[in-house]
Amino acid sequence: MSAQTPFQHEVATLIVETLNLEDVAPDAIAPQDGLFDGELALDSVDALELALAVSQRYTVQLKAEERSTREAFSTLESLAAFIEAHRGAAPEAAVG
Protein backbone atom coordinates (compact mmCIF):
# COMPACT_ATOMS: atom_id res chain seq x y z
CA MET A 1 0.00 0.00 0.00
CA SER A 2 1.45 3.35 -0.97
CA ALA A 3 1.60 6.20 1.51
CA GLN A 4 -0.72 9.17 1.08
CA THR A 5 0.48 12.32 -0.59
CA PRO A 6 -0.16 15.51 1.40
CA PHE A 7 -3.15 16.37 -0.76
CA GLN A 8 -4.54 12.86 -0.48
CA HIS A 9 -4.26 13.23 3.27
CA GLU A 10 -6.15 16.49 3.10
CA VAL A 11 -8.94 14.85 1.09
CA ALA A 12 -8.96 11.85 3.43
CA THR A 13 -9.47 14.20 6.36
CA LEU A 14 -12.35 15.86 4.53
CA ILE A 15 -13.94 12.45 3.95
CA VAL A 16 -13.66 11.42 7.59
CA GLU A 17 -14.98 14.74 8.92
CA THR A 18 -17.77 15.19 6.42
CA LEU A 19 -19.08 11.68 6.77
CA ASN A 20 -18.63 11.42 10.54
CA LEU A 21 -16.53 8.31 10.20
CA GLU A 22 -15.58 8.34 13.83
CA ASP A 23 -13.73 5.05 13.83
CA VAL A 24 -11.54 5.90 10.87
CA ALA A 25 -8.28 7.82 10.95
CA PRO A 26 -7.59 9.76 7.74
CA ASP A 27 -4.20 8.03 7.48
CA ALA A 28 -5.92 4.68 7.38
CA ILE A 29 -7.61 5.25 4.03
CA ALA A 30 -5.43 3.47 1.53
CA PRO A 31 -5.15 5.59 -1.63
CA GLN A 32 -6.06 2.72 -3.92
CA ASP A 33 -8.73 1.10 -1.81
CA GLY A 34 -12.25 1.35 -3.23
CA LEU A 35 -14.22 3.98 -1.32
CA PHE A 36 -17.55 2.42 -2.21
CA ASP A 37 -16.74 -1.24 -2.48
CA GLY A 38 -13.74 -1.45 -0.20
CA GLU A 39 -13.11 -1.13 3.51
CA LEU A 40 -15.07 2.09 3.97
CA ALA A 41 -18.16 0.81 2.12
CA LEU A 42 -19.58 4.26 1.47
CA ASP A 43 -23.03 4.49 -0.06
CA SER A 44 -24.76 6.93 -2.37
CA VAL A 45 -25.87 9.23 0.44
CA ASP A 46 -22.22 9.45 1.51
CA ALA A 47 -21.34 10.24 -2.08
CA LEU A 48 -23.78 13.15 -2.07
CA GLU A 49 -22.51 14.58 1.18
CA LEU A 50 -18.96 14.24 0.00
CA ALA A 51 -19.82 15.89 -3.30
CA LEU A 52 -21.29 18.83 -1.42
CA ALA A 53 -18.24 19.18 0.82
CA VAL A 54 -15.85 18.89 -2.11
CA SER A 55 -17.76 21.43 -4.17
CA GLN A 56 -17.81 23.89 -1.29
CA ARG A 57 -14.17 23.48 -0.34
CA TYR A 58 -12.57 23.16 -3.77
CA THR A 59 -15.11 24.75 -6.08
CA VAL A 60 -15.33 21.70 -8.30
CA GLN A 61 -18.50 19.87 -9.30
CA LEU A 62 -18.43 16.12 -9.12
CA LYS A 63 -20.11 14.41 -12.00
CA ALA A 64 -20.71 10.88 -13.07
CA GLU A 65 -22.50 10.20 -16.32
CA GLU A 66 -24.11 7.16 -14.85
CA ARG A 67 -25.45 6.58 -11.38
CA SER A 68 -22.39 4.62 -10.40
CA THR A 69 -19.66 6.66 -8.78
CA ARG A 70 -17.12 3.97 -9.31
CA GLU A 71 -15.71 5.29 -12.55
CA ALA A 72 -15.42 8.92 -11.56
CA PHE A 73 -13.63 8.62 -8.24
CA SER A 74 -13.62 5.15 -6.91
CA THR A 75 -10.59 5.63 -4.72
CA LEU A 76 -8.97 8.33 -2.60
CA GLU A 77 -6.27 8.50 -5.25
CA SER A 78 -8.67 9.08 -8.14
CA LEU A 79 -10.80 11.51 -6.12
CA ALA A 80 -7.78 13.59 -5.12
CA ALA A 81 -6.53 13.58 -8.71
CA PHE A 82 -9.95 14.66 -9.98
CA ILE A 83 -10.10 17.55 -7.52
CA GLU A 84 -6.59 18.70 -8.34
CA ALA A 85 -7.32 18.60 -12.04
CA HIS A 86 -10.59 20.51 -11.81
CA ARG A 87 -10.44 22.73 -8.79
CA GLY A 88 -11.61 26.26 -9.32
CA ALA A 89 -10.76 29.60 -7.77
CA ALA A 90 -10.89 29.99 -4.00
CA PRO A 91 -14.48 29.90 -2.71
CA GLU A 92 -14.46 33.57 -1.81
CA ALA A 93 -13.68 34.50 -5.38
CA ALA A 94 -16.09 32.05 -6.99
CA VAL A 95 -19.14 33.41 -8.71
CA GLY A 96 -22.35 32.09 -7.11
Binding site: E17, L19, N20, L21, E22, D23, D43, S44, V45, A47, L48, E49, A51, L52, S55, Q56, T59, Q61, L62, K63, A64, E65, E66, R67, T69, A94, G96
Partner: protein, 503 residues
Protein backbone atom coordinates in the same frame (compact mmCIF):
# COMPACT_ATOMS: atom_id res chain seq x y z
CA UNK B 1 -59.88 10.98 -15.46
CA UNK B 2 -61.06 7.41 -14.97
CA UNK B 3 -63.25 6.73 -11.93
CA UNK B 4 -61.79 5.32 -8.76
CA UNK B 5 -61.89 1.53 -8.46
CA UNK B 6 -64.81 0.11 -6.53
CA UNK B 7 -65.33 -3.20 -4.76
CA UNK B 8 -67.79 -4.15 -7.50
CA UNK B 9 -65.19 -3.59 -10.20
CA UNK B 10 -62.77 -5.81 -8.35
CA UNK B 11 -65.18 -8.68 -7.84
CA UNK B 12 -66.74 -8.85 -11.27
CA UNK B 13 -63.51 -8.36 -13.14
CA UNK B 14 -61.16 -10.66 -11.23
CA UNK B 15 -60.55 -12.83 -14.26
CA UNK B 16 -60.50 -9.97 -16.70
CA UNK B 17 -57.40 -9.56 -18.82
CA UNK B 18 -56.14 -6.04 -18.40
CA UNK B 19 -53.35 -4.70 -20.61
CA UNK B 20 -50.25 -3.77 -18.68
CA UNK B 21 -49.86 -0.43 -20.41
CA UNK B 22 -52.83 1.89 -20.27
CA UNK B 23 -51.62 4.57 -22.68
CA UNK B 24 -52.38 5.65 -26.21
CA UNK B 25 -50.29 3.63 -28.71
CA UNK B 26 -48.00 6.49 -29.70
CA UNK B 27 -47.61 8.03 -26.24
CA UNK B 28 -44.12 8.07 -24.80
CA UNK B 29 -43.71 5.76 -21.83
CA UNK B 30 -40.05 6.42 -21.33
CA UNK B 31 -37.21 8.45 -22.78
CA UNK B 32 -33.88 6.82 -23.40
CA UNK B 33 -30.71 8.25 -24.93
CA UNK B 34 -31.99 7.56 -28.43
CA UNK B 35 -35.27 9.34 -27.76
CA UNK B 36 -38.82 8.65 -26.57
CA UNK B 37 -40.17 5.12 -26.62
CA UNK B 38 -43.88 4.73 -27.34
CA UNK B 39 -46.30 2.36 -25.72
CA UNK B 40 -46.31 0.13 -28.76
CA UNK B 41 -42.52 -0.13 -28.87
CA UNK B 42 -42.33 -0.91 -25.16
CA UNK B 43 -44.99 -3.55 -25.62
CA UNK B 44 -42.95 -5.13 -28.39
CA UNK B 45 -39.95 -5.29 -26.05
CA UNK B 46 -42.07 -6.65 -23.25
CA UNK B 47 -43.56 -9.30 -25.54
CA UNK B 48 -40.13 -10.47 -26.65
CA UNK B 49 -38.80 -10.64 -23.12
CA UNK B 50 -41.95 -12.31 -21.80
CA UNK B 51 -41.54 -14.99 -24.43
CA UNK B 52 -38.00 -15.67 -23.24
CA UNK B 53 -39.10 -15.73 -19.62
CA UNK B 54 -41.95 -18.08 -20.37
CA UNK B 55 -39.57 -20.41 -22.14
CA UNK B 56 -37.33 -20.34 -19.09
CA UNK B 57 -40.13 -20.76 -16.57
CA UNK B 58 -41.69 -23.55 -18.57
CA UNK B 59 -45.04 -23.50 -20.23
CA UNK B 60 -46.82 -24.75 -17.13
CA UNK B 61 -48.76 -22.11 -15.28
CA UNK B 62 -47.67 -21.54 -11.76
CA UNK B 63 -45.78 -19.32 -9.45
CA UNK B 64 -42.33 -18.66 -10.75
CA UNK B 65 -40.66 -15.84 -8.89
CA UNK B 66 -38.37 -13.34 -10.55
CA UNK B 67 -35.90 -11.19 -8.67
CA UNK B 68 -35.40 -8.01 -10.68
CA UNK B 69 -31.87 -6.73 -10.24
CA UNK B 70 -31.86 -4.46 -13.28
CA UNK B 71 -29.89 -1.31 -12.65
CA UNK B 72 -31.07 0.62 -15.67
CA UNK B 73 -34.57 1.99 -15.12
CA UNK B 74 -35.94 1.14 -18.56
CA UNK B 75 -34.65 -2.42 -18.31
CA UNK B 76 -36.20 -2.64 -14.86
CA UNK B 77 -39.54 -1.41 -16.19
CA UNK B 78 -39.49 -3.72 -19.22
CA UNK B 79 -38.54 -6.69 -17.08
CA UNK B 80 -41.12 -5.82 -14.42
CA UNK B 81 -43.87 -5.84 -17.05
CA UNK B 82 -42.52 -8.90 -18.87
CA UNK B 83 -42.47 -10.90 -15.63
CA UNK B 84 -46.16 -10.19 -15.12
CA UNK B 85 -46.99 -10.89 -18.75
CA UNK B 86 -45.18 -14.22 -18.51
CA UNK B 87 -47.30 -15.28 -15.56
CA UNK B 88 -44.44 -14.87 -13.10
CA UNK B 89 -44.20 -12.81 -9.93
CA UNK B 90 -41.85 -9.88 -9.28
CA UNK B 91 -39.99 -10.13 -6.00
CA UNK B 92 -39.06 -6.67 -4.77
CA UNK B 93 -36.37 -7.02 -2.14
CA UNK B 94 -35.82 -4.16 0.32
CA UNK B 95 -32.18 -3.96 -0.76
CA UNK B 96 -29.68 -5.82 -2.93
CA UNK B 97 -27.41 -6.99 -0.19
CA UNK B 98 -26.11 -10.48 -0.47
CA UNK B 99 -27.85 -11.68 2.71
CA UNK B 100 -31.18 -10.35 1.53
CA UNK B 101 -30.87 -11.97 -1.89
CA UNK B 102 -29.75 -15.24 -0.32
CA UNK B 103 -32.71 -15.16 2.04
CA UNK B 104 -35.15 -14.75 -0.84
CA UNK B 105 -33.54 -17.54 -2.84
CA UNK B 106 -33.98 -19.83 0.13
CA UNK B 107 -37.55 -18.76 0.67
CA UNK B 108 -38.58 -19.04 -2.99
CA UNK B 109 -36.85 -22.09 -4.43
CA UNK B 110 -38.23 -21.40 -7.90
CA UNK B 111 -36.73 -17.93 -8.07
CA UNK B 112 -34.65 -16.71 -10.98
CA UNK B 113 -32.89 -13.41 -11.45
CA UNK B 114 -33.50 -10.93 -14.23
CA UNK B 115 -30.74 -8.39 -14.66
CA UNK B 116 -29.17 -6.10 -17.23
CA UNK B 117 -25.55 -7.04 -16.95
CA UNK B 118 -24.82 -5.02 -13.83
CA UNK B 119 -24.45 -8.19 -11.79
CA UNK B 120 -21.44 -9.38 -13.75
CA UNK B 121 -18.80 -10.56 -11.36
CA UNK B 122 -21.33 -11.24 -8.62
CA UNK B 123 -21.83 -14.79 -7.62
CA UNK B 124 -25.47 -15.40 -8.40
CA UNK B 125 -27.22 -17.98 -6.27
CA UNK B 126 -29.70 -19.11 -8.92
CA UNK B 127 -30.47 -19.00 -12.62
CA UNK B 128 -30.21 -15.56 -14.16
CA UNK B 129 -31.42 -13.97 -17.38
CA UNK B 130 -29.79 -10.93 -18.91
CA UNK B 131 -32.61 -8.86 -20.33
CA UNK B 132 -30.49 -6.56 -22.50
CA UNK B 133 -31.58 -6.94 -26.10
CA UNK B 134 -28.08 -6.74 -27.57
CA UNK B 135 -26.87 -9.58 -25.44
CA UNK B 136 -29.62 -11.84 -26.55
CA UNK B 137 -30.29 -11.68 -30.23
CA UNK B 138 -29.47 -15.33 -30.69
CA UNK B 139 -31.65 -16.42 -27.86
CA UNK B 140 -34.48 -14.22 -29.11
CA UNK B 141 -34.75 -16.49 -32.07
CA UNK B 142 -34.49 -19.58 -29.95
CA UNK B 143 -37.30 -18.48 -27.72
CA UNK B 144 -39.34 -17.54 -30.75
CA UNK B 145 -39.26 -21.16 -31.77
CA UNK B 146 -39.77 -22.38 -28.27
CA UNK B 147 -43.12 -20.87 -27.64
CA UNK B 148 -45.04 -21.82 -30.72
CA UNK B 149 -48.04 -22.63 -28.62
CA UNK B 150 -48.69 -20.52 -25.61
CA UNK B 151 -51.16 -21.34 -22.93
CA UNK B 152 -53.30 -18.35 -22.23
CA UNK B 153 -55.07 -19.53 -19.11
CA UNK B 154 -52.87 -18.93 -16.12
CA UNK B 155 -51.03 -15.77 -17.00
CA UNK B 156 -53.98 -14.60 -18.97
CA UNK B 157 -51.64 -13.52 -21.67
CA UNK B 158 -52.86 -14.30 -25.14
CA UNK B 159 -50.15 -13.57 -27.62
CA UNK B 160 -49.50 -14.63 -31.21
CA UNK B 161 -45.97 -15.70 -32.02
CA UNK B 162 -43.71 -12.90 -33.14
CA UNK B 163 -46.10 -10.30 -34.46
CA UNK B 164 -44.41 -8.28 -37.20
CA UNK B 165 -42.15 -5.82 -35.50
CA UNK B 166 -42.80 -3.04 -37.92
CA UNK B 167 -46.51 -3.46 -37.77
CA UNK B 168 -47.46 -1.47 -34.73
CA UNK B 169 -51.16 -1.86 -35.25
CA UNK B 170 -50.95 -5.60 -34.80
CA UNK B 171 -48.62 -5.65 -31.79
CA UNK B 172 -50.45 -7.78 -29.25
CA UNK B 173 -51.03 -6.07 -25.92
CA UNK B 174 -49.21 -7.76 -23.02
CA UNK B 175 -51.83 -8.27 -20.36
CA UNK B 176 -52.60 -10.12 -17.14
CA UNK B 177 -55.64 -11.04 -15.10
CA UNK B 178 -56.60 -8.69 -12.33
CA UNK B 179 -56.31 -11.50 -9.81
CA UNK B 180 -52.89 -12.66 -10.99
CA UNK B 181 -50.15 -12.20 -8.42
CA UNK B 182 -47.85 -9.59 -9.92
CA UNK B 183 -45.40 -8.57 -7.22
CA UNK B 184 -44.33 -9.14 -3.65
CA UNK B 185 -42.70 -6.37 -1.66
CA UNK B 186 -40.99 -7.00 1.65
CA UNK B 187 -40.96 -5.03 4.83
CA UNK B 188 -37.82 -5.78 6.71
CA UNK B 189 -37.65 -5.35 10.44
CA UNK B 190 -34.48 -4.92 12.40
CA UNK B 191 -34.67 -8.59 13.32
CA UNK B 192 -36.47 -11.61 12.00
CA UNK B 193 -37.84 -12.66 8.66
CA UNK B 194 -39.03 -9.89 6.36
CA UNK B 195 -42.80 -9.70 6.00
CA UNK B 196 -44.15 -10.33 2.50
CA UNK B 197 -46.74 -8.01 0.94
CA UNK B 198 -48.30 -9.72 -2.08
CA UNK B 199 -49.86 -7.48 -4.72
CA UNK B 200 -52.14 -8.64 -7.47
CA UNK B 201 -52.12 -7.00 -10.87
CA UNK B 202 -55.55 -5.60 -10.01
CA UNK B 203 -54.19 -4.09 -6.80
CA UNK B 204 -51.38 -2.42 -8.74
CA UNK B 205 -53.88 -1.08 -11.28
CA UNK B 206 -56.15 0.36 -8.61
CA UNK B 207 -53.33 1.70 -6.46
CA UNK B 208 -51.80 3.42 -9.47
CA UNK B 209 -55.14 4.99 -10.39
CA UNK B 210 -55.36 6.40 -6.87
CA UNK B 211 -51.78 7.67 -7.03
CA UNK B 212 -52.28 9.26 -10.44
CA UNK B 213 -55.31 11.14 -9.25
CA UNK B 214 -53.56 12.29 -6.09
CA UNK B 215 -50.21 13.23 -7.55
CA UNK B 216 -50.68 14.40 -11.07
CA UNK B 217 -53.30 17.15 -10.94
CA UNK B 218 -53.43 16.81 -14.66
CA UNK B 219 -56.85 18.18 -15.25
CA UNK B 220 -56.04 21.41 -13.53
CA UNK B 221 -52.46 22.00 -14.52
CA UNK B 222 -51.34 20.34 -17.69
CA UNK B 223 -54.40 20.04 -19.91
CA UNK B 224 -53.95 16.30 -20.10
CA UNK B 225 -50.42 16.55 -21.44
CA UNK B 226 -47.74 14.04 -20.56
CA UNK B 227 -45.63 14.76 -17.50
CA UNK B 228 -42.00 13.72 -17.80
CA UNK B 229 -40.47 12.53 -14.54
CA UNK B 230 -36.83 12.23 -13.61
CA UNK B 231 -36.15 10.12 -10.54
CA UNK B 232 -33.07 9.99 -8.37
CA UNK B 233 -34.46 7.00 -6.50
CA UNK B 234 -34.15 3.38 -7.56
CA UNK B 235 -37.17 1.70 -9.19
CA UNK B 236 -37.14 -1.24 -6.77
CA UNK B 237 -38.62 0.43 -3.70
CA UNK B 238 -42.27 1.32 -3.48
CA UNK B 239 -41.75 5.07 -3.93
CA UNK B 240 -39.61 4.64 -7.05
CA UNK B 241 -41.77 1.78 -8.34
CA UNK B 242 -44.97 3.78 -8.01
CA UNK B 243 -43.71 7.03 -9.49
CA UNK B 244 -41.17 5.90 -12.06
CA UNK B 245 -42.53 2.52 -13.21
CA UNK B 246 -46.25 2.15 -12.52
CA UNK B 247 -47.30 5.71 -13.35
CA UNK B 248 -45.62 5.62 -16.79
CA UNK B 249 -47.34 2.29 -17.44
CA UNK B 250 -50.81 3.51 -16.65
CA UNK B 251 -50.99 7.32 -16.57
CA UNK B 252 -49.92 10.18 -18.83
CA UNK B 253 -46.41 10.07 -17.43
CA UNK B 254 -43.17 9.52 -19.29
CA UNK B 255 -40.09 8.53 -17.31
CA UNK B 256 -36.61 9.66 -18.28
CA UNK B 257 -34.15 6.84 -18.06
CA UNK B 258 -31.32 7.19 -15.62
CA UNK B 259 -30.78 7.68 -11.93
CA UNK B 260 -28.49 10.71 -11.62
CA UNK B 261 -26.74 11.22 -8.31
CA UNK B 262 -24.66 14.38 -8.29
CA UNK B 263 -26.27 17.81 -8.56
CA UNK B 264 -24.54 18.57 -11.86
CA UNK B 265 -25.88 15.36 -13.35
CA UNK B 266 -29.39 15.87 -11.95
CA UNK B 267 -29.52 19.38 -13.37
CA UNK B 268 -28.28 18.25 -16.78
CA UNK B 269 -30.76 15.38 -16.91
CA UNK B 270 -33.64 17.68 -15.93
CA UNK B 271 -32.63 20.16 -18.58
CA UNK B 272 -32.99 17.40 -21.19
CA UNK B 273 -36.52 16.52 -20.05
CA UNK B 274 -39.35 18.04 -22.05
CA UNK B 275 -41.78 20.13 -20.03
CA UNK B 276 -43.94 19.69 -18.09
CA UNK B 277 -41.44 17.81 -15.98
CA UNK B 278 -41.16 16.68 -12.37
CA UNK B 279 -38.28 15.63 -10.14
CA UNK B 280 -38.88 12.55 -7.97
CA UNK B 281 -36.36 12.65 -5.19
CA UNK B 282 -35.48 12.59 -1.48
CA UNK B 283 -34.35 15.08 1.17
CA UNK B 284 -30.75 13.84 0.88
CA UNK B 285 -30.66 14.74 -2.80
CA UNK B 286 -32.46 18.04 -2.24
CA UNK B 287 -29.91 19.01 0.38
CA UNK B 288 -27.12 18.34 -2.09
CA UNK B 289 -28.89 20.16 -4.94
CA UNK B 290 -29.70 23.25 -2.91
CA UNK B 291 -26.26 23.28 -1.28
CA UNK B 292 -24.41 23.08 -4.58
CA UNK B 293 -23.74 26.02 -6.84
CA UNK B 294 -25.16 24.22 -9.85
CA UNK B 295 -27.89 26.28 -11.58
CA UNK B 296 -31.14 24.33 -11.35
CA UNK B 297 -33.60 24.27 -14.24
CA UNK B 298 -37.24 25.11 -13.50
CA UNK B 299 -39.67 22.19 -13.20
CA UNK B 300 -43.42 21.88 -12.74
CA UNK B 301 -43.33 19.73 -9.63
CA UNK B 302 -40.90 18.25 -7.11
CA UNK B 303 -41.77 15.10 -5.16
CA UNK B 304 -39.96 14.12 -1.98
CA UNK B 305 -40.22 11.04 0.23
CA UNK B 306 -38.27 8.47 2.28
CA UNK B 307 -36.96 10.69 5.08
CA UNK B 308 -38.15 13.72 7.06
CA UNK B 309 -38.04 16.96 5.11
CA UNK B 310 -37.57 20.19 7.00
CA UNK B 311 -39.76 23.17 6.20
CA UNK B 312 -36.64 25.17 5.43
CA UNK B 313 -35.44 22.69 2.84
CA UNK B 314 -38.95 22.45 1.37
CA UNK B 315 -39.06 26.22 0.95
CA UNK B 316 -35.55 26.44 -0.44
CA UNK B 317 -36.39 23.70 -2.93
CA UNK B 318 -39.54 25.44 -4.09
CA UNK B 319 -37.58 28.63 -4.61
CA UNK B 320 -34.74 26.92 -6.42
CA UNK B 321 -36.93 24.89 -8.77
CA UNK B 322 -39.73 27.46 -9.03
CA UNK B 323 -42.23 24.71 -8.38
CA UNK B 324 -44.47 23.25 -5.68
CA UNK B 325 -42.85 20.54 -3.65
CA UNK B 326 -45.15 17.72 -2.66
CA UNK B 327 -43.99 15.49 0.13
CA UNK B 328 -45.34 11.95 0.05
CA UNK B 329 -46.12 9.94 3.15
CA UNK B 330 -46.54 6.22 2.90
CA UNK B 331 -45.76 2.81 4.25
CA UNK B 332 -44.09 -0.19 2.69
CA UNK B 333 -47.18 -2.38 2.69
CA UNK B 334 -49.36 0.05 0.77
CA UNK B 335 -47.07 2.55 -0.82
CA UNK B 336 -48.02 6.22 -0.96
CA UNK B 337 -50.84 7.19 1.35
CA UNK B 338 -50.90 10.96 1.84
CA UNK B 339 -49.43 14.16 0.45
CA UNK B 340 -48.56 17.58 1.77
CA UNK B 341 -47.14 20.75 0.35
CA UNK B 342 -44.62 20.94 3.16
CA UNK B 343 -43.38 24.45 2.45
CA UNK B 344 -46.86 25.74 3.22
CA UNK B 345 -48.97 23.18 5.03
CA UNK B 346 -48.70 21.26 8.24
CA UNK B 347 -51.57 18.90 7.50
CA UNK B 348 -51.30 15.78 5.38
CA UNK B 349 -54.06 14.89 2.94
CA UNK B 350 -54.98 11.24 2.56
CA UNK B 351 -55.31 10.14 -1.06
CA UNK B 352 -58.86 9.91 -2.38
CA UNK B 353 -59.80 6.25 -2.40
CA UNK B 354 -57.89 5.35 0.78
CA UNK B 355 -59.43 5.37 4.26
CA UNK B 356 -57.98 5.62 7.74
CA UNK B 357 -59.55 3.78 10.65
CA UNK B 358 -58.37 4.22 14.24
CA UNK B 359 -57.10 1.34 16.30
CA UNK B 360 -59.30 0.81 19.33
CA UNK B 361 -56.54 1.22 21.93
CA UNK B 362 -54.53 4.41 21.92
CA UNK B 363 -50.81 4.03 22.55
CA UNK B 364 -48.88 6.31 24.92
CA UNK B 365 -47.98 8.48 21.94
CA UNK B 366 -51.52 8.86 20.64
CA UNK B 367 -53.88 7.06 18.31
CA UNK B 368 -52.70 4.68 15.60
CA UNK B 369 -54.55 4.09 12.35
CA UNK B 370 -55.00 1.42 9.72
CA UNK B 371 -55.09 2.20 6.02
CA UNK B 372 -57.76 0.47 4.03
CA UNK B 373 -59.06 0.48 0.47
CA UNK B 374 -61.10 -1.87 -1.68
CA UNK B 375 -58.01 -3.10 -3.50
CA UNK B 376 -55.95 -3.81 -0.38
CA UNK B 377 -56.03 -7.37 0.95
CA UNK B 378 -55.18 -6.28 4.45
CA UNK B 379 -55.47 -3.01 6.33
CA UNK B 380 -51.93 -2.35 7.54
CA UNK B 381 -51.24 -0.20 10.54
CA UNK B 382 -49.43 3.08 9.99
CA UNK B 383 -46.41 3.32 12.18
CA UNK B 384 -46.92 6.89 13.26
CA UNK B 385 -49.62 8.06 15.60
CA UNK B 386 -51.87 10.59 13.94
CA UNK B 387 -54.17 13.40 14.87
CA UNK B 388 -57.10 13.56 12.47
CA UNK B 389 -57.99 17.22 12.20
CA UNK B 390 -60.67 17.00 9.52
CA UNK B 391 -61.88 14.16 7.29
CA UNK B 392 -58.86 12.96 5.32
CA UNK B 393 -56.52 15.47 6.94
CA UNK B 394 -54.07 14.66 9.68
CA UNK B 395 -50.94 15.78 11.39
CA UNK B 396 -48.31 13.46 12.76
CA UNK B 397 -48.81 13.36 16.51
CA UNK B 398 -45.56 12.11 17.94
CA UNK B 399 -42.39 14.19 17.97
CA UNK B 400 -41.31 12.08 15.01
CA UNK B 401 -42.54 8.88 13.52
CA UNK B 402 -41.06 6.00 15.40
CA UNK B 403 -40.50 3.84 12.37
CA UNK B 404 -37.77 4.71 9.99
CA UNK B 405 -36.72 3.07 6.79
CA UNK B 406 -33.06 3.11 5.90
CA UNK B 407 -31.74 1.31 2.85
CA UNK B 408 -34.99 -0.63 2.69
CA UNK B 409 -34.79 -1.78 6.27
CA UNK B 410 -37.37 -0.74 8.78
CA UNK B 411 -36.21 0.14 12.25
CA UNK B 412 -37.82 1.51 15.34
CA UNK B 413 -36.44 4.57 17.06
CA UNK B 414 -37.89 3.32 20.32
CA UNK B 415 -36.09 0.03 19.94
CA UNK B 416 -32.80 1.67 19.04
CA UNK B 417 -33.12 4.00 22.01
CA UNK B 418 -33.77 1.00 24.25
CA UNK B 419 -30.56 -0.63 23.06
CA UNK B 420 -28.67 2.59 23.65
CA UNK B 421 -29.97 2.82 27.20
CA UNK B 422 -28.82 -0.73 27.82
CA UNK B 423 -25.30 -0.01 26.63
CA UNK B 424 -22.64 0.26 29.36
CA UNK B 425 -22.44 3.67 30.99
CA UNK B 426 -25.40 5.23 29.14
CA UNK B 427 -27.71 7.21 31.42
CA UNK B 428 -29.91 8.87 28.82
CA UNK B 429 -30.22 8.71 25.06
CA UNK B 430 -32.12 9.94 22.03
CA UNK B 431 -31.99 8.63 18.47
CA UNK B 432 -33.45 10.36 15.44
CA UNK B 433 -33.28 10.37 11.68
CA UNK B 434 -31.80 13.28 9.77
CA UNK B 435 -32.51 14.45 6.27
CA UNK B 436 -29.68 12.47 4.79
CA UNK B 437 -31.66 9.42 5.85
CA UNK B 438 -29.19 8.44 8.52
CA UNK B 439 -29.62 7.74 12.14
CA UNK B 440 -27.99 10.03 14.68
CA UNK B 441 -27.80 9.48 18.43
CA UNK B 442 -26.98 11.69 21.39
CA UNK B 443 -26.15 10.05 24.70
CA UNK B 444 -25.43 11.08 28.24
CA UNK B 445 -22.67 8.73 29.33
CA UNK B 446 -20.03 10.35 31.53
CA UNK B 447 -18.29 7.00 32.08
CA UNK B 448 -19.27 5.47 28.80
CA UNK B 449 -17.00 4.62 25.92
CA UNK B 450 -17.94 5.01 22.27
CA UNK B 451 -16.60 1.60 21.24
CA UNK B 452 -18.50 -0.23 23.96
CA UNK B 453 -21.73 1.57 23.12
CA UNK B 454 -21.40 0.94 19.39
CA UNK B 455 -20.47 -2.65 20.16
CA UNK B 456 -23.73 -3.13 22.04
CA UNK B 457 -25.68 -1.71 19.13
CA UNK B 458 -23.82 -3.80 16.58
CA UNK B 459 -24.76 -6.92 18.42
CA UNK B 460 -28.46 -6.17 18.13
CA UNK B 461 -29.04 -4.00 15.10
CA UNK B 462 -28.46 -4.01 11.40
CA UNK B 463 -25.44 -1.85 10.47
CA UNK B 464 -27.64 0.69 8.69
CA UNK B 465 -29.05 1.68 12.08
CA UNK B 466 -25.72 2.42 13.70
CA UNK B 467 -25.76 6.10 14.60
CA UNK B 468 -23.53 8.31 12.59
CA UNK B 469 -22.49 10.21 14.49
CA UNK B 470 -22.84 9.12 18.07
CA UNK B 471 -22.53 12.32 20.08
CA UNK B 472 -21.98 12.82 23.80
CA UNK B 473 -23.48 15.48 25.99
CA UNK B 474 -24.00 16.28 29.68
CA UNK B 475 -27.75 16.45 29.66
CA UNK B 476 -30.61 16.01 27.19
CA UNK B 477 -32.96 18.99 26.88
CA UNK B 478 -35.98 17.29 28.45
CA UNK B 479 -39.13 19.23 29.31
CA UNK B 480 -40.43 19.12 32.90
CA UNK B 481 -42.79 16.41 31.62
CA UNK B 482 -39.59 14.61 30.51
CA UNK B 483 -40.65 14.83 26.86
CA UNK B 484 -38.02 15.72 24.29
CA UNK B 485 -39.10 18.24 21.69
CA UNK B 486 -37.81 17.73 18.16
CA UNK B 487 -36.62 21.32 17.89
CA UNK B 488 -34.60 21.11 21.11
CA UNK B 489 -32.96 17.85 20.10
CA UNK B 490 -32.13 19.27 16.70
CA UNK B 491 -30.59 22.39 18.21
CA UNK B 492 -28.46 20.31 20.54
CA UNK B 493 -27.35 18.13 17.67
CA UNK B 494 -26.23 21.11 15.59
CA UNK B 495 -24.46 22.59 18.57
CA UNK B 496 -22.57 19.40 19.34
CA UNK B 497 -21.66 18.89 15.71
CA UNK B 498 -20.41 22.42 15.40
CA UNK B 499 -18.35 22.10 18.58
CA UNK B 500 -16.87 18.82 17.45
CA UNK B 501 -15.93 20.06 14.01
CA UNK B 502 -14.25 23.08 15.48
CA UNK B 503 -12.20 20.98 17.87
Amino acid sequence: MSPLPSPETRRTNAGELVPLFDRAPGDAVLIEAAGPVSRVRIEQRVNRLAARLRAHAGSAPGMRHALNLCDDRRHFLTAFAAVIAAGCVNLLPPNRQRDTVAGLVERYPDVFIVHDGSVTGMELPCAAINVRPAANQASDQTSGQAFGQVSGEASGEAIEPTAGRGDDARTPRPAARRDALAAVSFTSGSTGVPGANPKSWGALIDGTAINARAMLDLASEHDGGTLTVLATVPPQHMYGLELSVLLPMRAPVCVANGQPLYPADVAAALERCPRPRALVTTPAHLRALIGSTVPLPPVERVFSATAPLSIALARDSERAFKASLIEIYGCSEVGSVARRRSAHDELWQVFDGLSLAPLPTPSPDGISYRVSAPHLRTAPELQDTLEIVAPGHFRLAGRQGDLLNIAGKRGSLAEITRHLLQAPGVLDAVAFQIEQGRLVAIVVAPDGHRDAILGTLRAHLDPVFLPRPLLFTDRLPRQPSSKLLAGDVRALYEQLLGARNRA
